[in-house]
Amino acid sequence: MSRLPLPAFPSDLVVRAGRAARSCRRARGGSRPAAVALAVTAPAAAAVLAVAGCAGGPIGQNTPASSGQGFVSGSGMSVYETGSRSVAPVVSGTTLTGQHLSLASYRGAVVVLNFWGSWCGPCRAEAPDLQAAASHFSSRGVRFLGVDIRDDPTGAHAFQRTFQVTYPSLNDPGDEIALAFRGTVPPAGIPTTLVIDRQGRIAARIVGSASYNALKALITPVAAEHPVTTTGAAR
């Protein structure tokens, strides 16, 4: 009984044929990636796109476990202009250190939300870059917050120890936080990094490993949008 194949025909054909097109789609309808912003943030972002390209997309198998990597990954970067940003849901949960934390408490700050797992290769590759970016932007009203998914707290703690992560992470064993982003800019693979502007709107998304340069290129303009001193929004 371990592997009962499902009827996979014929809709499967269409699905597979459409995969290439899908993985190139960056944003859901309405919120178009801003070509202008990409042009401004120039070489770093371009490098990320060139490397990441549209080559990603899920690798899968019929029965979950026989082979394949066992999780959905991907790659791509999207930037949303101020007019086309969707509002991030107000998520809350318990951090890996056992404290209650709500995204609402970060209102007024730029929030970089990173969905990760200690077992995931691309997450481990981007961890030093994320930590470096967190340190670099900490004085500019930019807060980093992790969301640990499909993970065991022990492994997650060990991960944070290894990479000396200073920012907190919410534990999301039931995927409730990931699910809350449905209808906005949902995480499309592991890892996914979202940049949320000072008004709580999603300004950018990176699916796949985020490099320091890409993070810097994406966060800098968002952090500059409303200086903390003038809005007084940083509470």
Partner: protein
């Protein structure tokens, strides 16, 4: 698909001599049941020029091309002619069948050879095993058959062929369903069924009386000078139409599922839960227009899983029952419900079906590294490698162990037993669970950012630790050499593998299928039948009424009885006496039928069932 129905297209083109008014009165096709009824140039393509070789090939009904275009030959086929010829070849039944067969044949390599989209690692293995053959196969797209251009060509052609066949036919059937009854033939006595009587009513009154009676019986009426024609059984055309439209809807439904549906898999360990969102899925195959936001936001928790197996007899080790106790909610704030998920007993939530397709064991481990930190703790799904004893294999990766990363390749034996010095599992239930581990240290290759299977170790950066693999029982530990740490087998859980499918085309496809069947049955059951009445002033001041009847298909008998009843009622209503038309005549003798020309045989050809396609 070029059955007798094709003949209906010729109706109303006016290419056949008209009915009773012409000189051919009483003989030949003109005396039949109306203009162009099945005897026309047949294939509805209009001009004679293209009808020669083309219709000869496509419409295998030998009679028609002769009628259509004497002298038309290949020499006269221009570009348009060839295009038309090609189109008709494509939309023919034969082509559709060949394409369907080709589709089946083309799918074979997809199940024989490893497929890129299904199992990329198996493809790499195939490359390693067949270094010269593999690139050749790859050029033919045989490792991604279902995405191959030639495969797409087959199913697109099949779709075009079916649509091209069904669509024009649908329009023709609309015409047939709206068609007026034909004019009454001059000599009703020559019809397969006829009757006659004499009445004292005036001809007009007699016809009016007949109209009322036939109208009350829901015949479609047409009146002329001294005659009325009535036809019934248009439901047959409606059934035909329904069949064709439902066939088109079926095609559309299948496309709908491919565009808006998705498939996903998730392996879930007992005690864990997940939500239907891409990051929580192991495999996600969206349709062309599916974005992550379109996924139905349900969540599922696996509370427990139980499996029972046959413990004696010839079917030893065979699974008997599986039951996965789920708690689920349709949306983040919706109430939580319980569900017992079993094989072929899927959970349906928000139009999404969740199937139980597999199960296995997830041994739990605790790993302490060389510095005394607990760096890993939790269940690790192992994959069954044989079904009889559910011997399972898996890997444990401990990337945060210090001073060096640790990896373990393990075998889980639910009921461990020694078979001639070899450790095997002799029963699928966990009666004597053991884990045997090979230990590695070094670089797992995880930190480079490559996506790596959670079920495989990349051994290139690892070295095997000098510790003999010893089967561990629950609670036992293994100490690694050189102070690398310890690993403890703390227990085990079970996991289920779930297939999540959303196919919005499923219900429309089912409805279309049922409607197609209903239409087919209707068109088989209902006969079109015609009744003609002529009334003329007789020599003695009386009115001679003639009644004729014709069943327009050979599908089913029974019209004789209906006609006899009708004729009797007509006569009663008009207070008639036996007269010129003679007694009611049911089935004509074969000899008489021949002498009256092609009335019945022509009509038998003209109408038939969609089953003939």
């Amino acid at each position: 698909m070029t059955g007798p129905l094709a003949g209906e297209g010729g109706r109303g083109t006016g290419l056949v001599p008209a009915d009773g008014t012409g000189p051919a009165d009483g003989t030949g096709p003109a005396d039949g049941t109306g203009p162009a009824d099945g005897t026309g140039p047949a294939d509805g393509t209009g001009t004679p020029a293209d009808a020669g070789p083309a219709s000869g090939a496509v419409f295998a009904d030998g009679a028609r091309p002769i009628l259509a275009a004497p002298g038309a030959g290949t020499a006269r086929l221009g570009l348009t002619g060839w295009l038309r010829w090609g189109w008709r070849q494509l939309t023919s039944m034969r082509t559709a069948l060949i394409l369907l067969f080709l589709l089946a044949v083309a799918s074979v390599p997809g199940s024989v050879l490893p497929q890129e989209g299904v199992d990329p690692s198996a493809v790499s293995q195939y490359y390693a095993a067949h270094p010269s053959l593999a690139p050749l196969l790859n050029r033919l797209s045989l490792f991604s058959v279902f995405a191959a251009p030639w495969f797409a060509a087959i199913y697109l052609l099949l779709f075009v062929s079916l649509a091209g066949c069904v669509l024009p036919r649908t329009f023709r059937l609309v015409g047939a369903a709206r068609q007026q009854p034909p004019r009454a033939p001059r000599r009703l006595a020559r019809l397969p069924m006829s009757a006659g009587f004499v009445t004292s009513l005036a001809p007009g009154e007699a016809l009016a009386s007949a109209s009322r009676l036939l109208g009350a019986r829901r015949f479609r009426l047409r009146a002329g000078d001294g005659w009325i024609s009535a036809e019934k059984g248009y439901l047959r055309e409606v059934g035909n139409l329904l069949f064709h439209i439902a066939l088109l809807a079926l095609l559309a439904s299948v496309g709908l599922g491919g565009i808006f549906g998705y498939k996903a898999n998730r392996l879930l360990v007992t005690g864990q839960s997940f939500a239907n969102t891409p990051t929580a899925l192991d495999v996600f195959r969206p349709g062309r227009l599916v974005s992550p936001s379109d996924l139905q936001p349900f969540s599922v928790a696996l509370q427990s899983f139980s499996a029972t197996y046959v413990s004696s007899g010839p079917q030893l080790d065979e699974p008997q029952t599986f039951n996965a106790a789920l708690r689920y909610s349709a949306a983040p704030n919706a109430p939580t419900r319980s569900y017992d998920l079993r094989v072929n007993h899927p959970l349906t939530v928000d139009s999404v079906s969740v199937y139980l397709i597999g199960h296995g064991y997830a041994p739990e481990f605790k790993v302490t590294d060389g510095h005394g930190n607990v760096v890993f703790s939790g269940p690790v799904p192992f994959i069954p490698v044989e079904q009889a004893g559910l011997t399972s294999e898996g890997v444990v990766k401990v990337p945060d162990a210090t001073p060096s990363q640790l990896g373990f390749a393990g075998v889980f034996l639910p009921t461990a037993a020694d078979l001639n010095g070899r450790l095997v599992s002799e029963f699928p239930a966990a009666r004597n669970p053991r884990v045997s581990l090979i230990s590695y240290a070094g670089n797992l290759g995880l930190n480079t950012g490559e996506s790596q299977s959670v079920y495989q170790l990349d051994l290139s950066g690892l070295h095997r630790l000098a510790v003999a693999p010893r089967p561990l029982a629950v609670g036992q530990s293994m100490t690694l050499p050189n102070g690398a740490g310890t690993i403890t087998f703390t227990g085990y859980r079970q996991w289920v593998s779930l297939a999540i499918t959303y196919d919005p085309g499923q219900l429309p496809a089912l409805i279309s299928g049922v409607l197609a069947l209903a239409g087919l049955i209707l068109s088989f059951m209902v006969r079109r039948r015609r009744v003609f009445v002529r009334a003329a002033a007789g020599p003695d001041g009386q009115t001679v009424v003639a009644v004729g009847g014709l069943a327009r298909s050979d599908a089913a008998g029974g019209f004789e009885v209906e006609f006899a009843e009708l004729a009797g009622e007509l006569r009663t209503a008009q207070d008639g006496r036996p007269g010129a038309g003679g007694p009611v005549r049911g089935s004509p003798e074969p000899a008489e039928q021949q002498t009256t020309g092609s009335v019945s045989s022509d009509n038998d050809q003209s109408l038939s069932t969609p089953g003939g396609e």
